[in-house]
Amino acid sequence: MNSQEKITSNQLMAIMISLLIGIGILTLPRTVTEEAGPDGWLLVLVGGIIVIIISVVISRLGIMFPNQTVVEYGSTLLSKPLGILFSLGFFVYFVLFCAFEARVFSEITKQFLLDRTPTEVIVATILLTSAYLVRKDLATIGRMGEMIVPVFIIVPFLFLSAAIPDMDLTNLLPFMGTSPVRFLAGLGTIVTSYLGFETLLLFQPAMNRPQDAAKAMSVALGVVMVSYILTVIASVSIFGVYEIQRLIWPTFTMFRTIKIPGAFLENVHGVIMAIWVVTVYMTLSIFFFAAVTIMGRLVKVRDHAFMVLPLTFIIYFLAMVPDNIAVLYEYLDMFSIYLGVPFGLIFPLVIYAAAIIRKMGTERGNKDERSLEEGS
């Protein structure tokens, strides 16, 4: 990422938005309703705010260590072996996330689009297409995001507006009826829907103006948060608190119920599927790119393209490990608890604490002589 093109703030926003809106959004209404009942949308809101705070913390780290990703300043702050261990852990986390995304995507595609195609084939094709993108640089991903994000934010919500007559907002009552204990327990799960924001640790040095990262992240996370909230409100109002817990993918089912009368497109869910393929592709590719970036920075290589294909095979085999959807989601839950929360929430805060305690890093106006300038 050093001698390559820089990304603009808009591109970072687009990358983050397309990264976060992936497979999570399909199951989101169900999971938050399971945790917090009709207050699910409130959970999304609070989770979003927490995530915004953490990403502001991360952006501070990026400003303190210009031109360095977490691989580098992690090593300097936490002693080299520990830093490398953390980076490798991050790498494994991203790789597993890619495998999950690919597998869930294939399951859904197989169920709704291509029922006769073997899952292996679908996983292979999406991974290979992803690999093509990951071989390029971050600016290409940024440009793709810029082009895609307006479409997949606006179009689904346009379709949703056709479903407003079916929405019964009383399904969202009683407001604030959940016990605070249950609410706090739910926060753990909701943050995992926002996982992906920690890639800022890696992408900030590639920005044109890294100091704008905080603002860009807040806007991007705000957009994602609003999209999530609207989706949850829409699904819960259409289906109600009890039925929604019986649908595996309530978001999708919601779109299937939309019928635009008189229009050519009776079955809106075809278009939504098409858009969703693109969304998940972007999520998958950006996580893949993050993994490759970490490895590239660890090994200090100039061009990361050669690592992509071997990693594709690894992700493929990992994706085929679970036998069916039930096992898959079981693994996914374990993953989000044991890997998602530590790497997403705890790790950035730990590093930031280390930076503050050890008084390292350049700050504006800070005449600290121990600032580290070793970019790569």
Binding site: R143, M144, E266, G270, V277
Partner: protein
């Protein structure tokens, strides 16, 4: 630079042109003539005119030219007549006369517009073969090169490939000088620079680089010159050769250099900060750098009013999308996802497809292949026969195929709509890219249905996002921080709103037009000269 440019630029391929010219002229006329007759042995179109000048016919002169490349009239009147007759009639001191006949001839007697002297005979031959005439004088070691170019050419005709309803019907011709003149007529600004170089070791084709010095992006200009100078080919027969040498990715199906036959498009491009490359012997001028929305713009968009222009532009984008994806979507829906279209339509399509022995994919391939063959055949056949074959072939063969039960009528309609949409594209090069990509999408949709179509589109989008033309991302202005340029992409905002030049292309001299002063004065009358930054000057059109 392109792949071919790199392979050609190896150090051991020394260009003979760069070596020093070796053959100095002799002072004896006979020896000089001997040199030329030897080098140009068996070139029977080279004419050697020896004559004597002076009242006592004491000075030996020779004129060499290539018949067919010169303006005969000029040679006869200005050179031969002037030297042979008018010198004799002039009252001159015989002493002056004999002192330096060379200078006399050079400065006074040869009454043409371009005269140069040349010491090296091999460079003189190059000029000779370009259409200049050589005047040799006995006793002098220099050759006079007289500009006398005049050969048969087509003149300025309407461009065949880019017809417009409204707009000038000037098209470039095959002579470089006519083309540069057409450009100068539209941009009467001293900042319009036209640099000439010679490319091609054996063809020595004149190539001109045209740009506006205070608008163009200097980095792009330097890159263009660098890539042009690295071309090492024996013959540059058309601008297409140059295009393939200087483009960024030789493997991409998308054109990274735009070509046009219309001088008004070139002038508009230069005003936006782009660089034009004019090649001798072809009316197709290259424009760099290029972004994808330039390939969807046509000159007419600016001459009509904004509402119509925007509507037509949107239709162009829609037709591009249709021509790319319609067969693939049809195959995907009929083979994999009949549930995605309204029930009535699905049942109807199923009904029409009963009895057709092939799956939708094979049908589509058969029809598309037939269409491509018809298209090629139509190009090769002369004039009216070609057009008739196209229509007859399309209608009759399609109808016959349907009646024979080989294809379904819906397929014929799909293929016909696709073909018509592809003709609506304004740039031929993007049209042929889409033809190729359509097959790619058909194959993917036959294998994976709608998912395959989405994957194919994603792969294309990734490719487009990573493509650059001379440092400018191909997808600008849709990406990058240049959102005001969007006013000129999908729609065309009124001219009043087009204040600034595209930022991605130049970044200098951003103000394009100045709205008029308070009392209805035009911009140039209000004296708004000097620009906000004081860089250069702008004038409104008159």
């Amino acid at each position: 630079m392109g792949f071919l440019g790199r392979t050609m630029n190896k150090k051991d391929n020394k260009k003979p042109e760069q070596d020093q010219p070796r053959d100095r002229a002799f002072s004896s006329l006979d020896k000089n003539l001997g040199y030329f007759k030897d080098k140009l042995k068996d070139c029977d179109d080279v004419v050697y005119r020896e004559f004597r000048v002076g009242s006592k016919q004491q000075y030996g002169f020779a004129l060499i030219f290539v018949d067919g490349l010169i303006d005969r009239n000029m040679i006869n009147e200005e050179v031969l007549k002037s030297l042979m007759l008018d010198i004799r009639r002039a009252n001159m001191n015989p002493g002056v006369f004999s002192r330096n006949i060379f200078t006399l001839a050079f400065n006074g007697a040869v009454t043409t517009g371009e005269v140069e002297e040349e010491e090296y005979l091999d460079k003189a031959i190059v000029s000779l073969l370009a259409g200049d005439s050589l005047l040799l004088i006995d006793g002098y070691k220099k050759v006079i090169v007289i500009g006398s170019k005049g050969w048969p050419n087509r003149g300025v005709q309407e461009p065949q490939t880019e017809a417009v309803i409204r707009g000038s019907r000037d098209g470039f011709s095959e002579t470089l000088r006519i083309n540069t003149a057409l450009l100068r007529r539209r941009l009467r600004d001293p900042e319009l620079k036209i640099k000439q170089i010679r490319l091609g070791v054996r063809s020595k084709t004149d190539v001109a680089i045209a740009y506006m010095d205070n608008i163009v992006d200097k980095k792009v200009l330097d890159e263009v010159e660098k890539r042009l100078r690295s071309i090492n080919m024996d013959g540059i027969l058309e601008s297409g050769y140059i295009e393939q040498f200087i483009e960024d990715s030789w493997y991409s199906p998308f054109p990274q250099v735009q070509n046009t036959e219309r001088p008004d498009r070139v002038a508009a491009a230069i005003l936006e900060g782009r660089v034009a490359i004019i090649t001798d012997n072809t009316p197709f001028v290259l424009l760099v750098p290029v972004t994808i929305n330039m390939l969807f713009q046509s000159a007419e968009d600016y001459y009509e009013r904004w509402f119509i222009a925007s509507f037509i532009r949107i239709m162009r984008y829609v037709s591009a999308f249709i021509s790319l994806t319609l067969p693939a979507i049809y195959i995907a829906i009929t083979s994999y996802h009949p549930g995605l279209i309204p029930t009535d339509l699905a049942l109807y399509i199923a009904g029409t497809r009963t009895g057709v022995p092939f799956p939708a994919f094979i049908e589509a391939v058969i029809m598309e292949m037939t269409l491509e063959l018809l298209r090629e055949a139509g190009i090769r056949l002369p004039g009216p026969i070609g057009q008739t074959i196209g229509i007859v072939g399309g209608l009759v063969i399609g109808q016959a195929a349907v009646q024979a039960g080989l294809v379904s009528p819906i397929m014929v309609i799909v293929v016909a709509v696709t073909a018509i949409s592809s003709f609506a594209l304004s740039s031929y090069s993007i049209g042929i890219s889409f033809r190729f990509l359509r097959f790619f999408l058909i194959a993917l949709s036959a294998a994976f249905g709608l998912f395959g179509v989405m994957l194919g589109l994603l792969i294309m989008l990734v490719h487009l996002c990573s493509l650059k033309s001379f440092g400018i991302p191909y997808l600008a202005p849709l990406v990058g921080n240049a959102y005001y340029e969007m006013g000129d992409s999908f729609i065309r905002v009124p001219l009043i709103a087009m204040h600034r030049r595209p930022k991605t292309l130049s970044g200098r001299n951003m103000i394009r037009i100045r709205p008029g002063g308070k009392n209805g004065q035009s911009g140039s009358e209000t004296g708004n000269i000097g620009g906000k930054d004081g860089r250069g000057y702008e004038k409104t059109g008159e």
